[in-house]
């Protein structure tokens, strides 16, 4: 299949070079050439021999293999943890065996000999466990986990078009000794013979599904966004209001329904359950407790909660930091726990749920909790808070997210907790998420991240400033109000507004963005109270245009890094509107 396309393309190329006329050529009988991004054959490469083409060179098959292998390995990891809890769980052993068996089969098929042979070795060990000749001891599980890591590494190498390397002899030797074959005196076994082909199919009733290249999926999501914009442009066209033709209106209503449905479905296609991420955390907890000598259990709830796969990927790093913090600094040693009357096995909770169009991801522990006094002391020492300030618990705990605070904290080991918490907050902010923290001394800590379901669409508040319109993410808006003159004050050129007892700095958007003809008097315009972290400010706008779903468009490189602007959107009338970056606007480095 692939080779034919290459060949045809080659000949077409030659014809074009012969003609050497225009960039676009009409060619009557040419079949449409497969043009998937990433697997496009190099046009300058010599055409490959069609008859003896190996499957190993089919990039599509290889990439499918890589996807499957990673899924298998994730499943193996999960099953091993089950097995560790219950070594007699034969179903888990079978599942692990099947995963390595399938990987071996396909690897052999694709002539990835080292991977195939490696999996065969692992399979031999698993076979002994399966038949009851050996028990699933922690050593066996550790070794299989190492094997999983190696297969993943090999997959990455193959992906980068490197040959799949040999496994470390030391690892192989250990696997072989478990397989009961002693020292590897003989060379590796021959590659699987033809009887091993085609790859075995796992019989467990997996849902009917097709695999789609994520680039295609992202393109589809983008196009669905386009459809929404185009639909809205038609619907809001003033010329339409003058047409009172029932059939047209009926057709439009139908189009509206279909558009919404298409968009909803397409967005849903990119949703994956968060368990893909949570499963990895189980292994993390296992390794961390092993290293530290502490005892802890991970309780996972809401793993089936779905969210955009792009967010899932970005969430991995902050989650690792949060779990690590809970274990390193939250959970006490078994002796310490026993002394304070707690269960010696610490409980770490990982949860996910949907709430009002947002997703909540929580990490909790029943450890020692945050030490409010020490954090405050530290904050005062760092100049973040003034001595004797009346601060709420939340305001105090907020300091642990402060960059620099955490490292200083670690050196002196004042309260524990805080390693990389600034990284957590930065990452979450980049995802337009917010962080909430609660802690009780001696009882534990609860970190809650609120995230949008998707990165492609936001609820936007459209505001007018002069002749321009800007989008404010609704998630950042706390309230919209028109102040009375007595509430507006100026102090040495800096303006602020008193709102319910708090003094909020005023940001004149027109001045910040040099927009002419905007409202000057705050009492004649509108104040949009926005929040970033725990900091609130009022943005002065002329008017509120409305609230709508906004499809986010990234900005070109040359206009990407403007302070206070995070992206753009196309409005119903086809005009471009810029999306405000509230964190950037409120950031200390940007002063207006």
């Amino acid at each position: 299949m692939g080779s034919v396309a290459v060949n045809r393309r080659g000949s077409l190329q030659e014809q074009v070079e012969d003609l050497a006329v225009e960039a676009v050529t009409f060619h009557g009988d040419a079949d449409p050439v497969e043009r998937l991004p990433g697997i496009r054959p190099n046009p300058s490469a010599p055409p490959k021999e069609p008859p003896e083409m190996s499957f190993a060179q089919d990039p599509e098959l290889v990439s499918e293999f890589l996807v499957e292998t990673r899924e298998h390995m994730a499943n193996v990891e999960k099953q091993l943890l089950v097995l560790e809890q219950n070594p007699a769980d034969t179903e888990a052993v079978h599942a692990v065996f099947r995963a390595f068996h399938s990987t071996k089969g396909v690897a052999g098929f694709l002539e990835l000999r080292n991977v195939g042979e490696f999996c065969q070795e692992v399979e031999t060990v698993l076979d002994r466990v399966r038949t009851g000749a050996m028990r699933a001891t922690p050593e066996v599980i550790d070794l299989i986990l190492e094997a999983v890591d190696w297969v993943r590494l090999a997959a990455t190498q193959i992906e980068q078009s490197q040959p799949d390397g040999r496994a470390a002899p030391e690892l192989l030797a250990r696997i072989r000794s478990l397989a009961g074959r002693g020292q590897p005196a003989i060379a590796l076994p021959a590659p699987p013979d033809a009887s091993a082909l085609p790859p075995s199919v796992t019989p467990d009733g997996s849902p009917r599904a097709v695999k789609i290249d994520t680039a295609k999926l992202d393109y589809l999501v983008e196009m669905a966004g386009e459809l929404v914009i185009a639909h809205s442009m038609v619907q809001h066209n003033p010329a339409l209001a003058e047409i009172a033709e029932p059939s047209l209106l009926q057709g439009l209503a139908q189009l509206s329904r279909v558009t919404t449905e298409v968009q909803r479905t397409v967005m849903g296609m990119r949703m994956v359950p968060i368990s893909t991420l949570f499963d990895r955390m189980e292994r993390l907890v296992r390794e961390l407790t092993r290293k530290s000598g502490k005892k802890a259990e991970l309780q996972v709830t809401g793993g089936e909660t779905e969210l955009d796969r792009n967010i899932v990927e970005e969430l991995s790093e902050p989650l690792v930091h949060m779990i690590r913090n809970a274990l390193d600094h939250g959970i006490e040693s078994p002796a310490e726990r026993a002394a304070s009357g707690k269960n010696p096995i610490g409980q770490v909770g990982l949860s996910a749920s949907h709430l009002a169009g947002q997703i909540l991801v929580g990490v909790s522990d029943d450890g020692r909790g945050l030490d409010r006094d020490k954090i405050l002391q530290k904050a005062v020492a760092c100049g973040l808070a003034s001595a004797g300030a009346e601060l709420s618990d939340e305001e105090v705990f907020e300091f642990i997210f402060h960059p620099g605070f955490s490292t200083a904290d670690r050196v002196t080991d004042v309260s524990g907790r805080g390693v990389g918490m600034d990284v957590v907050r930065k990452k979450l902010q980049a995802l337009r998420g917010r962080m909430h923290i609660e802690s009780t001394r001696g009882k534990g800590t609860w970190l809650l991240a609120k995230l949008p379901l998707t990165l492609a669409i936001i609820d936007g508040m459209l505001i007018g400033v002069g002749a321009e319109r800007y989008v404010v993410p609704v998630s950042a808006v706390r309230e919209v109000l028109r102040p009375v003159p007595e509430a507006c004050h100026t102090l040495r050129g800096g303006e602020f507004v008193m709102i319910r007892g708090s003094a909020l700095p005023l940001v004149r958007l027109a001045r910040a963005f040099a927009v002419p003809g905007a409202v000057e008097d705050p009492c004649a315009g509108l104040l949009i109270v926005v929040e970033s972290g725990l900091e609130k400010r009022c943005l002065l706008a002329d008017r509120l245009v409305g609230i709508q779903e906004i499809v986010i468009k990234s900005l070109a490189e040359s206009v990407k890094h403007i302070p206070g602007i995070s992206g753009s959107a196309i409005l119903g009338d086809g005009h471009v509107s810029l999306i405000l970056d509230i964190d950037g606007l409120l950031g200390h480095e940007v002063t207006y």
Partner: protein, 169 residues
């Protein structure tokens, strides 16, 4: 069946005369300019431009090109010419440029579009040294063909503009 073919093999036939080829010419003030046709994606009429705060003066803003948001450069401002009120014939030439960040689309606002010309290497002369003031890297050369002098622009350089203020990287 239409099959779009990469431009690369055609270029190979004329490896020693990179300036030979078709040029789209346009007018700015009293000067005639040219850009390579293969860099042009389309020509669109003037439309609503959303200004971008803190951008260089010549960067008029961004437009919606059928769902893509692209930056638009006012070439008069780029070349320090006086502003004019945009008129009937003002248009935006949408071009592809190769930049450090990969291929990008951008719009160039010009007074009016003239014609498409074929130029041979022998028609093109190097641009004179205008001293330190001239943004010389924007030009490929000068064409003497057809009585009028035409200034040939290097689109990649026109769009690979100065970094934005406040850029983080």
């Amino acid at each position: 069946m239409t099959v779009a073919v990469e431009i690369a093999p055609i270029d190979k036939t004329v490896p020693n005369s990179p300036r030979t080829g078709k040029y789209l010419t346009f007018r700015l003030d009293h000067e005639e300019f040219g850009i390579e046709v293969k860099k042009v994606r389309e020509i669109v009429g003037l439309q609503h431009i959303t200004p971008v705060p803190h951008a260089p003066r010549y960067l008029r803003g961004v437009i919606n090109l059928r769902g893509k948001v692209i930056p638009v450069i006012d070439l008069r401002r780029k070349f320090d010419m006086a502003d004019v009120t945009y008129g009937e014939r003002t248009c935006i030439i949408v071009v592809w440029a190769q930049t450090a960040a990969g291929p990008v689309l951008g719009g160039l606002i010009v007074d009016s579009v003239s014609e498409v010309l074929h130029l041979d290497e022998s028609d093109v002369e190097d641009t004179p040294d205008l001293g330190p003031r001239g943004p010389l890297n924007c030009f490929i050369g000068l064409s003497k063909a057809k009585e009028h002098v035409k200034i040939l622009l290097d689109v990649d350089q026109v769009l690979a503009t100065d970094p934005m203020p406040g850029r983080s990287d």
